[in-house]
Amino acid sequence: MMGHGGGMGHGGGMGHGHGGLDDDDSGEIYNHQVVKRLFPYFKSQLGLFTISMVMMLVYTSTLVLIPWLIGYTIDNYVLANDLTGLNRIGVVMIAVIIANLVGNYLYMRLLGKISQEVLYRLRTDMFNHLQQLSVPFFDRNEVGRIMSRIMSDVGQLQEFLPMVTITLGDLLSLVGIIAVMFLMDVKLALIAILVLPVLATIMAIWQGYAKKAFIRIRYAISVVNSRLQQNISGVRVVQSMNRENLNLKQFDKVNLDHLDANIHAVKLSAILMPTVDLITGVALGLVIVVGGTMVLNDSLGAGALVAFALYVQRFYDPIRNLTMQYTQFQRAMTGGVRIFELMDVKPEVVDKIDALPLPAIKGEIKYENVCLEYIKDIQVLKNVNLHIKPGQTVALVGQTGAGKTSMASLLIRFYDVTSGRITIDGQDLRDIQRSSLAGQASMVLQEPFLFSISVSDNIKYRHTGSTMEEVINVAKAVGAHDFIMRLENGYDTVLYERGGNLSIGQRQLISFARALLANPRILILDEATANIDTFTEVLIQQALKTVLKNRTALVIAHRLSTIQNSDMIVVMEQGEIIASGTHEELLQDSPIYSRLYLLNFQNPTDT
């Protein structure tokens, strides 16, 4: 086989620096780390795997055996004019054929089973691992890049697994053929494999070129695909700006690059065809001359010569196959490295081993000396102290970047504090199970995200057991009921991707309803009404009065009108709380709040 030693010792590339994913492509065709990591997935299928391998052995041996049987039959029965012997060996051959059929079928079928099981487990393991990862990871890595690891990289392995066993079978039959040839005649066998080292040398040189050529292809196709994806996602801008012709020209350029890269690689892989043919020709010619002479000298049977000729032709088939699968090996190894790199990313927010579920809470929240850094030494929150009593509505105001959203994100534990602590009913958030917190605290996010499922399923979301009545009640509470009823299929209307058949305001209302359905003790609203017109907003606010009763609420809003009635308003600037109090108190005491307030009214945010 080709000199695969060159690719080893590369396993170190599996670490992750800052939680960002690398897209390196080493071009190696064997990576020990990847194979080692894949091994446990096969281990659980050990029984099936063993049977499958045994069957492959049976199948391969029958294939190796047949030319030998042909030679043996010719020499011992046909040339000896032994008809009964011929019939007898016929029975043996039938047995071999049946073994071939059974072995082949079972080996392929079991292998299909095993590889699908392995892929399923890989996919679901990756999916589950991703669910464990914390928000910072998703901040750093674009969805598209994570997706390609689960879809394309696992897909590469899907193509790879059957190929590995075919290759394994090829190698086995190679060994088998050599063994049988040596058993038949050592001298002729040596002659037949004389050219093997030449081929090995050529392959070693070839793979140096191939490695680069195929890396180039993969780079080119990734450029093509990302261009296409951008154009699909940004199609509305493209059309608004009349960019179609120019974009096509630019796309054609990268598309052509990809074509060129492929044609270059094709030349490289096609050159192996005549090479292998020529070397086979030499070997076959040598077998004819030397083997033929041996038959003439009676030191070899004619049947054995037939067998040799058949073997030599089959001998180089595996090598031809290997070259065709070369790039698949590279892709699979690169894919494997990328898959396990993702699997090795450690979640940043993890439950302690002894974390307890949070019992039913009253809703008292305390931030105690809370500091937060996303990037080391850049403080987003500086020593924040805040006490929210059960049932209070507290509003956070301040400029973009003041740390309001960070305050909210910490409360729902998207992140953990860098120092200090946050308690709910006296319990440190880090000492309780995250899932039990999410059951009692709900958050409405700045950017409403909806799933492409029905409206009612979106509102229910995790609470699949909710009744339709409950769904309608919360929808009415946020003023979404009327427009939902006007949708084509009412609550059963299936949304487009990201809720694309709704306006952003409508999406926000539904995400609001979703948060309410959970009936949380603590409600966090992060600019939940930013995209909603005033009329609707006022309706929501009226509804909120009943909704927020007996709930603790943390509200972030830029429109001060939204939060004037809060029990407490907290003014933030550059990660610090600089003032707090009621609206009236702040107007008296806080110049910054007064300025914000005036700006708001000089420049009223609402219609």
């Binding site: 008809l83 928000v135 969805v143 261009r227 296409l228 033929g292 058949l310 004037q564 219609t607």
Partner: protein, 602 residues
């Protein structure tokens, strides 16, 4: 087979390459067929006490035949792959261009993940079909025919035995092809659904985390992942049974020939060399037999992939240029809606009977609840959708009578959710005007109040945004969108001035930017800000897809109705009694604002 035929037609564009490819296939086949002949002769020679000289000749002949085959095989391989790649290249360009010219109505219903899987997996399926199904398959068939003919010529009775199995192999393969086609389609569909589930899960991670819905999310992904692996397994079973049966038949034939041929040799009706030739002929079929399974697979996959890809390519955009469409020159900006109605699905009206007459350079504010039809209305002007009934006119031209290119060149749009391309800030601003000078770009970003911010970045205008680039805040994105629209200098402007994620200071900046931008252009603005509404020349109040009120702020505020409700709801509640004095002065200011602005107005 219609779908496969369409792929063939695309490949037939490369006539020269195809002709050459098929010629080389003939060459490979002919050269391949020489080898068993020489080998058979060798056996006859050695058994009839031939000379070493003759052996040497035969050895050289085999070498020559192999070399010849190698030369042809090079071109066959080269051309096969090249044609496949070229067909894929054409299709990629066509797919790309088709998608970017489909109207919004089409894209609303598409899942990006699914389109991408068509562009990757299905594209590969089609390429493989060209390479395997169109060229490799021809070689396989030709070699079978050649070997069959050679064997019939050698001994027709013996040949008949071996040919007996051919129809069985053909029938099995045909059947497998049909089964596989069905399964492949299922696999592809489920893969698409799994991709969608995954994409939504990842995009919505904050929601997933906020609701601790990790377990809930599992069920959807697991369901499709399970289906994918189950159907793939079905495909594997079909392939296993087909390929093991084909090998079985092939091996059976070899054994039968050996047995029946051996009998004939013993009985003296066949020479040793002829028997050997038979065996060698079958020997060169080993590789093609193995290929049959792949060829069959490539047909099934090509069919499924072709079906999916062509379904997208065949979709006709509802918004099309008329055959006699004329170019719209730079307009003055007179926009008229005449009894316009619209329904996305053709039945549920989103807009009914809209009449608007927007004179050049006027600012039209659209006000109303989410989903009342404001966004839909403005999307009709650049023909992102076509009205279901009624007419939209610009400077008197029906928008359907002019080319969409020239129409859209007259219109600038700032959307609510701003899409940025993976590139630097400069290229994003110059997106619609690629040859804009540095001065123009800086000027546009100054108008959009973005220049100072960009200057403050270490890389300035070269700062990379989008995927793997700097993340811009909502307000910054919005101002960038304003800048790139300003650069186009359109006579008609459509704005969605959402206040999402923008703090008071920033909003102040954006507001100033907008005031600048709207000057001298007919502007349709979906208004979320009072200031915008106050300065509008005409306010349209929407409710359930109808315009329920229209007029200026002064006119509407006097009339009882929707607008008054909105206005009062905003300012009356509790606030009045809280900060009486302050509100009083603020309200005075507000009342004055529109008047002063009007004075400056066009």
């Amino acid at each position: 087979m219609h779908v496969l035929w369409r792929i063939v037609k695309r490949a037939s564009k490369y006539k020269l390459e195809l002709t050459f490819a098929y010629t080389t296939i003939l060459g490979v086949t002919a050269a391949s067929m020489l080898i068993p002949r020489f080998l058979g002769t060798t056996i006859d020679e050695v058994l009839s006490s031939g000379s070493q000289r003759e052996l040497l000749m035969l050895g050289l002949a085999v070498l020559a035949a192999n070399a010849l085959r190698g030369a042809f095989a090079y071109w066959q391989q080269y051309l096969g792959e090249t044609i496949g790649q070229k067909v894929a290249y054409d299709l990629r360009n066509e797919f790309y261009d088709h998608l970017q010219r489909m109207s919004f109505g089409f894209h609303d219903k598409q899942q990006t993940g699914n389109l991408m899987s068509k562009a990757t997996t299905d594209m590969e399926g089609i390429r493989m079909f060209v390479q395997m199904g169109l060229i490799r398959a021809a070689f396989t068939v030709l070699l079978f025919l050649g070997v069959g003919t050679a064997m019939v010529l050698l001994d027709w009775q013996l040949a008949l035995i071996s040919l007996l199995f051919t129809p069985v192999i053909a029938w099995r393969s045909g059947q497998t092809m049909v089964q596989m086609r069905r399964v492949w389609l299922l696999v592809q569909t489920e893969l698409g659904l799994m991709t969608t589930a995954l994409q939504e899960n990842l995009s919505g991670q904050r929601v997933v985390k906020a609701f601790a819905a990790e377990k809930h999310e599992q069920s959807r992904f697991y369901y499709h992942a399970d289906n994918v692996s189950r159907y793939s397994y079905h495909a594997a079973i079909y392939q296993a049974s087909n390929s093991s049966l084909v090998t079985f038949f092939y091996v059976s034939i070899t054994v039968l020939i050996l047995w029946a041929g051996g009998r004939q040799v013993i009985e003296g009706t066949l020479s040793h060399g002829e028997l050997a030739q038979f065996i060698f002929y079958l020997g060169i079929l080993t590789q093609p037999v193995r290929m049959i399974a792949w060829v069959v697979n490539s047909f099934s996959r090509g069919y499924g992939s072709g079906q999916r890809l062509f379904a997208t390519l065949d979709a006709v955009s509802p918004v099309q240029n008329m055959p006699d469409a004329v170019d719209l020159l730079r307009v003055k900006g007179h926009v008229q809606f005449e009894s316009v109605s619209f329904a996305y699905d053709g039945t549920t009206p989103v807009l009914s009977n809209i009449d608007i007459d927007a004179k050049p350079s006027k600012v039209i504010a659209l006000v109303g609840a989410p989903g009342s039809g404001k966004s839909t209305l403005v999307h009709l002007i650049p023909r992102f959708y076509d009205a279901t009934s009624g007419t939209v006119r610009i400077d008197g031209h029906d928008v359907r009578d002019v080319t969409t290119d020239s129409l859209r060149r007259n219109i600038g749009i700032v959307q609510q959710d701003v899409f940025l391309f993976t590139s630097n800030i400069r290229d994003n601003i110059a997106y619609g005007k690629i040859n804009a000078s540095e001065d123009e770009i800086i000027n546009a970003s100054k108008i959009a109040q973005l220049h100072d911010f960009i200057k403050a970045m270490p890389d300035g205008y070269n700062t990379w945004v989008g995927e793997r680039g700097t993340t811009l805040s909502g307000g910054q994105r919005q101002r960038l969108a304003i800048a790139r629209t300003v650069l186009l200098d359109p006579p008609i402007l459509i704005l969605d001035d959402s206040t999402a994620s923008v703090d008071t200071e920033t909003e102040h900046h954006i507001r100033e930017a907008l005031q600048h931008v709207m000057k001298g252009r007919t502007t349709f603005v979906i208004a979320h800000r009072l200031s915008t509404v106050l300065s509008a020349d005409l306010i349209l109040v929407f409710n359930n897809g109808e315009i329920v009120q229209r007029g200026t702020h002064q006119e509407l505020i006097e009339l009882p109705g929707h607008y008054q409700d909105i206005y009062n709801l905003q300012f009356r509640p509790e606030m009045t009694d809280v900060t009486n004095s302050q509100l009083g002065s603020t309200a005075n200011k507000l009342a004055n604002e529109p008047i002063t602005e009007k004075d400056h107005g066009p």
